[in-house]
Amino acid sequence: MAQIELTGIERVFTLGDSEVHALHELSVSIDSGEYVAVMGPSGSGKSTLLNLLGLLDRPNAGTYRLEGRDVTTLSPDEQAEVRRTRIGFVFQSFHLVPRLTAAENVALPLMLAGIPPAERHARVAQALKDFGLETRAHHRPDELSGGQRQRVAIARATIMRPAVILADEPTGNLDRSTGQDVTHLLEDLNAAGVTLIVVTHDPVMGGRARRRLMMEDGRLLHDVREPAPVP
């Protein structure tokens, strides 16, 4: 059984009298531990797809089964719980809370999950160490470089040990070499078994994925699988 199963997904936005089909007749299934790049021109529906997968948005039609469960019919609180425990988000613009330190930003999902402070501190300290941020723990985002910010964001996305990581152009705001570092970090997580779904415009990054979903006008144009690149 596939971890993610989308069938006949429609997502329509109404702008005045005109309707935009951001996603149209989209069906795709993704297995646990896959490394998927979502690619396509601007406005083709990549972010919309990712938001749907992350339960931040609901489809107008179609079903979405996550780990065998139909999640489109869940209540908002149940969806929040799924987001909290099964999904990690990484954004192009990092989305760190400016007044909180790196450690506090990483601790946010643990705090929302109601995990006691002692355990929280231990897990945050470990995560910061894993991502090479231990010396930056008490710095606020504006005191960090872009690469460091994205590493904090990735540490935050993985702190709850999610099953799926959704990254929307995670290297879009980073220079080339920092971007590569971030890509490697995400790939290491995937190697450890986490499903990784990355939206990217970068053909090099896309080429590294073992599976590419090519989108256009809200449809899935190509679903390309390649054998894993030889290391």
Binding site: N51, G54, L56, D57, P76, D77, A80, E81, V82, R83, R84, T85, F89, F91, S93, H95, V97, P98, R99, L100, E104, L108, P109, M111, L112, A113, G114, R156, M160
Partner: protein
């Protein structure tokens, strides 16, 4: 999310925007401070009046010359024009009323008192021997004025403690001959310390027999007559009897005013009741204004932090988590405002007491609780709307805001 975490998160959010927080705390604190200061003023005035009049003694009816048009008691009525004088004969006639136990006429004037080269100005009160009992004064030394015929101008004087101290210092006063105005009087007693009463400080008065005072000031009329009724219940019928006697003596026309303590206190009750209402009104307005400010500031906060709210939702925050976080923040700001306002209000009340030492301007407990309670309630009530708006934000759109 545990309550402790919600509180910590809200505290960090409030302290993360110091200017906004300071502004809101200020607005809220002004409201609460206004309540504290104004009620301190109102209650101080009430206590002042009650103290003044209870210092008078109980069961009293005060007779003053002149008829007031409304029959009510106002500050202006105390200095009415005098159509016909009030005399010692009138005073004596009042004792015929069956429900009256004691009576003291008052004749008042400014003069000076001198002894052994020391001289000071003093207010001289001419009265009778019963005055000390009616007012329930205590003697420090010697006796009060003798109980004798009101027409006798005996050359004796009783001093207030302050006068005695200033004129005689550590030397004995009883038996000494002092000069008061153009008369030489023998000191027969010194009053115990009494403090304020009806706007005159009794400690700074010189008491002499009423006839002595009238001769000194070359007059026949009295300033007041103080009459004591048999009991509290007898005050109203006694007043009626006194009015009948006066009307008889004035050929059917009542040209004096009779004031009872109840009427005086009742009038002040009404005045102070209105004052309290006004205070409540001002407080309500200022707190409502503060509440609206809380709402706007929180709405701005929600707009400012839209991306953050979207992020929290993406990280798995429920609507309830977000609602509580923003509501807690509003409550915290109101609480800080209430506490600051409480401190500011007490500072203001202290200033009032400094400026008007006679006024016991302490805010009553109920007002303090009501002020702080209302501040918290308004803060939370007006915080609900922004908090709900935050919780309802669409996460996708919230996240795309930058």
């Amino acid at each position: 999310m545990t309550p402790a975490d919600t509180l910590r998160f809200a505290t960090r959010a409030a302290s993360g925007y110091p200017l906004r927080t300071a502004l809101m705390v200020l607005a809220m604190s002004i409201g609460v401070a206004a309540v504290v200061v104004l009620t301190a003023l109102g209650d101080g005035a009430r206590r002042y009046v009650v103290n003044e009049f209870s210092a008078l003694g109980s069961n009293l009816v005060i007779v003053l010359p002149g008829r007031t048009a409304t029959g009510g008691f106002g500050l202006g009525n105390l200095v009415t024009s005098t159509p016909r004088d009030l005399t010692v004969r009138d005073a004596q006639a009042l004792l015929r009323a069956p429900l009256v136990t004691r009576m003291a006429p008052l004749s008042v004037g400014n003069s000076e008192i001198a002894w052994g080269g020391r001289l000071r100005e003093a207010m001289v009160v001419g009265t009778s021997g019963d005055y000390v009992d009616i007012r329930a004064f205590r003697m420090a030394e010697g006796n009060f004025l003798p109980r004798e015929d009101l027409g006798r101008a005996t050359a004796v004087a009783v001093l207030g403690t302050k006068i005695r101290d200033e004129i005689f210092g550590s030397e004995p006063a009883i038996g000494r001959i002092v000069r008061v105005g153009d008369r030489r009087l023998r000191v027969i007693g010194v009053l115990g310390k009494t403090g304020q009463g009806l706007g005159m400080n009794t400690d700074e008065l010189v008491f002499v027999p009423v006839a002595t005072a009238q001769a000194m000031f070359n007059t026949n009329n009295l300033f007041r007559i103080i009459v004591e009724a048999r009991s509290r219940d007898a005050i109203a019928p006694a007043k009626q009897q006194l009015e009948d006697i006066m009307r008889l003596r004035r050929d059917g026309e009542l040209d004096v005013t009779l004031i009872t303590q109840d009427a005086v206190l009742g009038t002040f009750d009404r005045i102070l009741g209105a004052l309290t209402l006004a205070v409540a009104g001002i407080a309500a307005i200022s707190l409502a204004v503060a509440g609206i400010l809380v709402m706007n500031v929180m709405l701005v906060a929600v707009t400012q932090r839209t991306a953050e709210i979207g992020l929290l939702k993406a990280l798995g925050a429920t609507g309830r988590n977000i609602r509580l976080a923003f509501l807690t923040e509003a409550a915290l700001l109101s609480l800080a405002g209430a506490i600051t306002g409480f401190a500011l209000g007490h500072l203001g009340a202290w200033g009032l007491r400094l400026a008007f030492p006679v006024l016991p301007a302490w805010p009553p407990d109920w007002a303090v609780f009501a002020g702080i309670g209302t501040a918290l309630t308004t803060g939370i009530l007006f915080g609900v709307m922004p908090a709900r708006r935050a919780a309802r934000l669409d996460p996708v759109q919230a996240l795309s805001r930058r």
